[in-house]
């Protein structure tokens, strides 16, 4: 017994796995509209305060933002390898790969924290707490409020993703995933890919679009 049971409402494993995947993609769709609302706000405010947004993007630390992008992309690769390992019946590799992914996620959060503390020292805080002297325009204040909300919400997703992958790493230690049955692992990796892909859009919005 490997813990994969066919629930009584399903006639075959294929249908059960199909339902699980469909449910997960539905959930990811809802996450997309969640961030979509914020990106719509970003677009509206950028149309309103174009120059001030460009100046504010220029103020952000391009090096940290880009390194973080590379880190998340690498973590997506390592997490995708876990599904490959399950399919190739090399389940011993799953736990270490998940561990590596978690480590990369933690490094991402660490760099993000360093970046935020730099902002705080410069008096760049969200909303009414904004104290920066150099950039006093409305556009800068709105930009950095959005910056904290969007990267903050993304960071919350990273933390949740790390917790989920941690739980799956423990499960993987018990050899629960086989070439036939690994749909839950696959869904956990899909969530991590979501975390990654949201960042792929945050990166240009807050670091690259400087002109």
């Amino acid at each position: 017994m490997n813990g994969h049971r066919l629930a009584e409402q399903f006639s075959t494993f294929a249908k059960q796995d199909h339902a699980a995947r469909l449910g997960m993609w539905g959930f990811l769709g809802s996450e997309v509209t969640l961030f979509g609302g914020l990106f719509a706000l970003y677009a509206a405010y950028r149309a309103m305060y174009g120059h001030e947004f460009v100046a504010a993007v220029g103020h952000n630390n391009l090096a940290i933002g880009t390194i973080n992008t590379l880190i998340l992309l690498t973590s997506s690769f390592t997490v995708a390898l876990t599904v490959w390992a399950a399919r190739a019946a090399r389940s011993k590799l799953i736990a270490p790969l998940l561990g590596l992914t978690i480590l990369l996620g933690c490094v991402f959060l660490l760099l993000k924290g360093i970046e935020w503390s730099q902002h705080f020292h410069q008096g760049i805080l969200p909303g009414l707490h904004y104290r920066n002297r150099e950039m006093q325009e409305f556009g800068a204040k709105v930009f950095f409020t959005l910056y904290f909300i969007m990267t903050g919400l993304h960071a919350i997703h990273v933390v949740i993703g790390i917790a989920v992958l941690g739980w799956f790493a423990v499960q993987a230690g018990r050899r629960l995933y086989t070439p036939e049955h690994h749909v839950t692992l696959e869904m956990a990796t899909l969530y991590w890919h979501l975390v990654d892909i949201v960042w792929i859009f945050l990166w240009p919005a807050f670091y690259l679009m400087r002109g």
Partner: protein, 552 residues
């Protein structure tokens, strides 16, 4: 599965109400039917709570100045009325009670795809409701159910817990939506193709898509309000360059489709009730099914008509107005299909059908005024007046609540295995209609005369129409109590129901009344459609289960 069938013949399986007893067998159940019953109890409780708020409001408006409560209490009361009715009653009502109960048997399934997620949805709903109630006990918000910034960020009332509760309720919606979508895709019994699904399943499916994609935007915008209110992180705050109108855009991006979250399941109920009691195939199955998806799609593109006076170009207003009118086209397709179904039908004049007639009248009235307010020129006159209040109550109360009551009576025998009193049911239905009409029709006139919504006091010459409206509200409240009382009495004293008391051909009636925990004694294999009234009841049953192999 095949081994279970002979065993069932020897000792019939207990129905779901008697399959296990004790509190734990309910609170930890994964049976979609028991979860539906628990939702039923909670949601009806909130319906009556919201109704009490409404009666207090209407009683206050009996006289032009103070009648029973002060102005601040009044503001809190209409906010709580809206919050309770929208999020605790109307959004979850039909999907989580009737969708939960009848969707699996309608598809010939034993349960939803994710039974544990379904139970989680119930608990998340309960937690969200408790948080909202805590906010009410803490004084409640006074912003109106729309929480417009900047006021919602600045008011000293308990906005945060109310908003947090609604945020939590959103997860319940998303869980349920995922569950229904996956169920429709993967758990249809052999022979139930997409175009052989009962129409209620189409309505629930379209609703689930809206719930899934729109709810996160509401969750987001409420979080933005809450963190502004609590910490001053105001992304909409004009003091840092924010634009409050953008809040309205995001809010209505959810809340306009939310109207269709409320009305599509109602249309689904009607699409079951009409063929059953007309004993006839729907005039056009395809038109009813596809127009649900059409409404779901266009519903996402019409939010702008809430912002005609908030600053919008004439071009935008024209586009949003035009798109809004598409909803009326899809709705009209349904209305014609329903009435066409009645034509030459063999009509059984029962309570659910009487609710349908009420629905038809009120929905057409509400829908036609909806087309009128979708034009910018007229909307500027009616915006924020009682005309709008009357319009959306005609759709939501006149549409959703009458359909909710139709469903409560229609599936009552299936859910509880008893028959309600038809005479009392018909009386309550007529009283609901009359009470409703007198509550809200005068509000159209008041709005057209210029009485603004949400005002505590009004000029004396508006009093006559307000008294009519208040009288209607009391009648409506009493009629709802009568309808509920009739059903509650029937739980204990009603005559036992047969498996298919309405002689419907829809698949959920193939199960016993009340159904066993797995819904069907043997797995259905369907070789007919759900509206084949040309076949006899016996023949349609024969074509719903696999031919018995032992006999052959």
């Amino acid at each position: 599965m095949s081994a279970a069938a002979p065993a069932a013949q020897n000792s019939p399986a207990p129905d779901y109400l008697h399959d296990g007893s004790g509190i734990a067998s309910w609170l930890l159940t994964r049976d979609h039917k028991r979860i539906a019953i628990m939702f039923y109890v909670l949601i009806v409780t909130f319906l009556f709570l919201g109704g009490i708020f409404a009666l207090v409001l209407r009683t206050e408006l009996l006289t032009p100045e103070r009648t029973i409560i002060d102005a601040t209490t009044y503001n809190r009361m209409f906010t709580m009325h809206g919050v309770t009715m929208v999020w605790l009653f109307m959004i979850p009502a039909i999907p989580n009670i009737f969708g939960n109960f009848v969707l699996p048997p309608m598809l010939g399934a034993k349960d939803l795809a994710f039974p544990r997620l379904n139970l989680a949805s119930l608990y998340v709903y309960a937690i969200g409701a408790i948080v909202v109630l805590a906010g009410m006990v803490a004084g409640g918000a006074d912003t109106g159910w729309t929480f417009y910034v900047p006021y919602s960020a600045e008011t000293k009332t308990a906005v945060a817990p109310v908003v947090a509760g609604i945020f939590i309720l959103g997860f319940s919606s998303i869980f349920t939506a995922i569950n229904f979508i996956a169920t429709v895709h993967t758990l249809r019994a052999e022979g139930i193709s997409w175009m052989r699904m009962p129409l209620f399943a189409w309505g629930i499916y379209a609703t689930s898509i809206i719930m899934l994609l729109a709810t996160p935007v509401l969750a987001l915008v409420l979080v933005l309000v809450a963190i502004d209110h609590l910490f001053g992180f105001g992304v909409f705050n004009p003091a840092i360059g924010g634009d409050p109108v953008l809040f309205q855009h995001l809010f209505w991006f959810y809340s306009h489709p939310a109207v269709y979250i409320m009305v599509l399941p109602a249309m689904g109920v009607i699409s079951e009730v009409v063929p059953t009691f007309a004993h006839r195939r729907p005039a056009s199955y395809t038109a009813i099914a596809i127009s649900s998806l059409g409404i779901a799609f266009v519903g996402f593109l019409s939010w702008g008509h809430h912002l005609f006076v908030a600053g919008m170009s004439e071009l935008d207003a024209g586009i949003f107005g035009g798109l809004s009118m598409f909803v009326a086209i899809f709705s009209a397709i349904k209305v014609f299909a329903w009435t066409g179904t009645l034509y030459k039908g063999s009509i059984a004049f029962r309570t659910p059908l009487l609710y349908f007639f009420g629905f038809l009248f009120l929905f057409i009235f509400g829908g036609m005024t909806g087309v009128a307010v979708a034009t910018q020129g007229l909307d500027v006159h009616w915006h924020d007046t009682y005309f709008i209040v009357a319009h959306f109550h005609f759709i939501m109360v006149g549409g959703t609540i009458t359909a909710f009551l139709a469903a409560a009576h229609y599936w009552f025998p299936k859910m509880f295995g008893r028959m309600y009193s038809e005479r009392v049911g018909l009386l309550a239905s007529a009283a609901v209609f009359i009470g409703f009409f007198f509550t809200f029709f005068p509000q159209f006139l008041l709005g057209n005369l210029g009485m603004p919504r949400r005002y505590y006091a009004y000029p004396a010459h508006f009093q006559f129409l307000n008294v009519l409206s208040t009288g209607g509200a009391w009648l409506l409240g009493s009629a709802m109590l009568l309808a509920l009382g009739n059903l509650v009495v029937a739980l204990k004293y009603g005559k036992p129901a047969t498996a298919n008391p309405w002689h419907s051909r829809s698949y959920e009636w193939l199960s016993a009344s009340p159904p066993i925990t797995h819904n069907f004694e043997e797995t259905p294999v369907i070789r007919r459609d759900p509206y084949c009234y040309v076949l006899s009841e016996h023949e349609s049953r024969e074509r719903s289960f696999p031919p018995s192999e032992t006999a052959a």
